[in-house]
């Protein structure tokens, strides 16, 4: 049996995230330009495969068959695998996972994983309708189910069962917005949010306030994923993919079970840590899917960063900040950077690469990191996707 090749992320880039005067195609072009700027050794003809993470281009951009469109915009002619990956909020990570699987299987050597979403439309009710379609549309979406009221119910139950406070939610949001201030591509770059200010913002879906919710964001990001023995042609700091995990156990909200115990994430976490041969205590930092402040709290508990019910205290005590235990969301998170669905998972991988390469500003540089975890949930936290990275020695 031949040995499975190692796989590395050999660089990447993101566009500026925010409310952009740019179309879906223009965001893809910007991500492509920045990718080739970030990896000067990369030649388009070396890329044999392209994976495009895009959640709802049919609704947001009225465009199907987007993988060949993205290939044309990037000047790529994929000759081995070309495909779009769709897993709602985890569509970007799905692109990386697919590239990883293809390379590990010997079906690709040099792949680009690109993620993109154009979410700000002239009618935001139209955009919100797209978000309701992520749910079981005719049964849950038709009642007005979108992400904010669902995660609001998670927060309500967490408060009732564990005494989690609005101050703890604000602590998560304040930290991630603070990190976003050192990230010029973040939607909320150069905006300050104290806990007091966050707790004064309007309610969106009680108990969640505006600052507890990630935004509708336009953005794109791309990474180069390569067979291990090719990595050093492109970088001296490869980020090795060492493990993955994923779990999906329901879709209709009737099957959600206990809102505060994310069984699927515990399952995915076991597999991710097992496959990487590490445990949560080995992590130096984690990019958790803080689509809402409460999500970071519950995710940290399910991944074993702290005991069940202690996720609020973990943030309040600074254990998820620099100088704490496991730094969570140094990029600025979805709360600080915005959440262009297809781009988010890729942008998190770009942060892992840059942290390992010590390319980020000191305000968010995790000291000498070796292990990082990336988490995306999708939909109503009914699917969890994880990747474990190790810094190249």
């Amino acid at each position: 049996m031949s040995e499975r090749p190692e796989v590395a992320v050999a660089g990447g880039a993101t566009t500026r995230f925010g409310v952009r005067a740019a179309t879906w195609s223009e965001l893809v072009q910007e991500a492509g330009r920045r990718l080739f700027e970030a990896i000067p050794e990369l030649r388009a003809e070396e890329v044999d495969s392209l994976f495009v993470g895009a959640a709802e281009p049919e609704r947001f951009a009225f465009q199907s068959h987007v993988a060949p469109l993205a290939a044309e915009l990037l000047g790529l002619k994929p000759r081995r695998i070309l495909q779009r990956t769709e897993l709602a909020c985890a569509s970007g990570q799905s692109a990386i996972r697919s590239a990883y699987a293809a390379i590990a299987a010997g079906l690709s050597d040099v792949a680009v994983a690109l993620g993109v979403e154009k979410m700000n439309l002239p009618s935001m009710a139209e955009a919100n309708t797209s978000m309701a379609c992520v749910m079981d549309r005719p049964w849950d979406g038709a009642h007005g189910a979108t992400a904010p009221p669902f995660f609001a119910m998670v927060a309500q139950r967490h408060m009732r069962e564990f005494g989690t406070t609005e101050e703890a939610l604000a602590a998560v949001s304040e930290k991630n917005h603070r990190f976003a201030n050192s990230n010029p591509d973040a939607q909320f770059h150069a905006k300050s949010f104290s806990r007091e200010k966050l707790r004064g913002l309007p309610l969106v879906a009680p108990p969640l306030r505006l600052g507890d919710c990630s935004s509708m964001t336009d953005g794109a990001a791309a990474v180069l994923v390569v067979r291990g023995d090719l990595a050093r042609k492109y970088t001296s700091n490869p980020a090795w993919i060492r493990g993955t995990g994923q779990y999906s156990d329901w879709h209709n909200l009737a099957n959600a079970g206990d809102l505060t115990d994310w069984v699927g994430l515990r399952q995915a976490g076991r597999e991710a840590f097992r496959s990487a041969g590490i445990g949560p205590a080995d992590l130096d930092f984690a990019e958790l899917h803080d689509c809402f402040s409460i999500s970071e709290i519950v995710a940290g508990e399910a991944l074993g960063f702290c005991p069940a019910g202690q996720g609020g205290a973990y943030a309040l005590d600074g254990k998820s900040s620099l100088g704490g235990e496991i730094v969570v969301n140094p990029r600025g998170g979805l709360l600080g950077c915005g959440h262009p669905l297809g781009a988010t998972g890729i942008a998190q991988a770009v942060e892992v690469y840059r942290q390992f390469a010590a390319e980020v500003p000191p305000e968010r540089q995790v000291p000498d990191p070796e292990w990082a975890l990336v988490h995306n949930l999708s939909g109503s936290a009914n699917v969890h996707s994880l990747m474990v990275y190790q810094r190249g020695g």
Binding site: S123, M124, A125, E126, N128, T129, M131, A132, C133, D136, R137, P138, W139, D140, G141, A142, H143, G144, A145, T146, P148, P149, A152, M153, V154, Q156, R157, R160, P202, L203, V204, A205, P206, P207, L208, N252, L253, A254, N255, A256, L259
Partner: protein, 177 residues
């Protein structure tokens, strides 16, 4: 694989649908945008049209597997446990208690903007292992509580279709808030 049998074994035969003279209160906030392009309740487009016939007749129902007794929500045509189509319609309790709730104060989808603010919640139906999501009418979200009692009701959409929602019990006279 055999084609799915119509699970409407115990349902009355589909008859002409009353499209006028709503027997239930009509919605102050129509929500058809997020219903199907093909109306889900129309037997030309779906095998579970009986759900809506039942709703019109005052019954709240779903399918149950005859082989393993599994209660399926939403109504299905194949049991995901045994992968057979030996399903039957059963009536569900029309009363339950709120497990969790919130409200949409901003960011509503098309067709729901004028209803803002509106309450939504997960409700444990009495006596069955079903926790359903839905709109909660009857009281503002500020007056709802975990454990509060709600009823399930059908309501007519302006285009003649019918849907369901929860209605919170009105405040008892003299009770605070």
């Amino acid at each position: 694989m055999a084609p799915p049998t119509t699970p409407a074994a115990e349902a009355p035969a589909v008859t002409a649908r009353p499209r006028a003279a709503p027997a239930t209160p009509s919605s102050p906030a129509p929500i058809p945008t997020l219903l199907d392009f093909h109306p889900l309740e129309d037997p030309r487009f779906t095998e579970i049209a009986a759900f809506f016939d039942h709703l019109r007749a005052g019954r709240f129902s779903t399918t149950r597997c005859r082989r393993d007794g599994r209660l399926l929500w939403p109504p299905r045509t194949v049991c995901p446990e045994c992968h057979r189509s030996e399903l039957e319609w059963v009536d569900l309790p029309r009363h339950g208690r709120i497990y969790a709730f919130s409200a949409v104060l901003a960011g509503a989808p098309l067709g729901m903007e004028e209803a803002v603010p509106f309450a939504v919640g997960l409700v444990d139906l009495d006596g069955v292992p079903l926790r359903l999501f839905g709109r909660i009418e009857g009281r503002p979200w500020t007056e709802l509580a975990i454990g509060a009692e709600v009823n399930v009701e059908g309501f007519d959409l302006p285009d003649g279709r019918i849907f369901y929602r929860f209605r919170a019990r009105p405040a008892s006279p003299g009770a605070p808030g």
